[in-house]
Symmetry: C2
Subunit: 149 residues, 2 copies
Amino acid sequence: MKIGELARRSGVKVETVRYYEREGLLPEPARSEGNYRLYREAHAERLDFIRHCRALDMTLDEIRALLACQDDPDQPCEEADALIEAHLGHVEQRIAQLSRLKAELEGLRRRCAGQGKVGECGILNELSQPVDPPATLEHAHVGGVHPRR
Amino acid sequence: MKIGELARRSGVKVETVRYYEREGLLPEPARSEGNYRLYREAHAERLDFIRHCRALDMTLDEIRALLACQDDPDQPCEEADALIEAHLGHVEQRIAQLSRLKAELEGLRRRCAGQGKVGECGILNELSQPVDPPATLEHAHVGGVHPRR
DNA sequence: TGACACCCTGTAGTCACTATAGGGTCAAGG
DNA sequence: CCTTGACCCTATAGTGACTACAGGGTGTCA
């Protein structure tokens, strides 16, 4: 299987597959005479694993750790377990924070009279207030509102 | 007011203030004889505006648009209004998605027996399944689980 | 005079890709 | 045999919103 077919099967771009190889998440496959990468079923499974973890919004570092667990199947699975647990915590934190943002945005929306000029618009005036310290995300480790995919 | 005091007052790093200037969000301030940036109250207010918007997870582009509205106070405020409305939609989408992730992570957690070896661990086996197509975030415009602040 | 906190510019690094440039390989059709 | 086109290769740079240096200058105090 060449890289294009692998990419199609797992629903990623060809460049992303090569990127995962560079990052050490996918092992280097055999090459054809013409220097094309040749993949096997095991590569496809590993790529599915990676994409599944990414769909759960884990970082490549977290995925690397899980893959290392997987590659050593006699180890106890506590580490993988702890990683999932920690990640779940981050997702929950992020949901809580976005809920607060949502409430504030809804509050802002109510302040706009709707027909006025910008100068009297409650939204823009409200936004000029300073933020109290922990309003920024800090090290919550759960991403912002705007993803880049 | 020099850059350090401005940064402290608004709770940002000095480098971030200079970055906002480079990006055209903060106007270039006057300079002292020794070439230090000298800020006034108006700069601090504008910086608070920016930080408040960032705390609401708006992009710098969205903030630029709001600032342009603010700088032209006779315009109707529809544009600012629409921007807030759209942003609220993105936040809601992101919350919905994270809730799905949370449910899946909780499902994963239940699959781990707790004491076993990695080879029998339900978590790692489950993660090897392929993802069905729209499991990735696509252009939801609301960020991942891991912020970089 | 020296120490120190602060400031300056410019550049590179972060993350997880994505895009582009500039080429090579391979099978089918004319 | 030659061309077209789909696919592949490497290497490099760009994204967003910062952050972190390196290598210097300024200002104040003892």
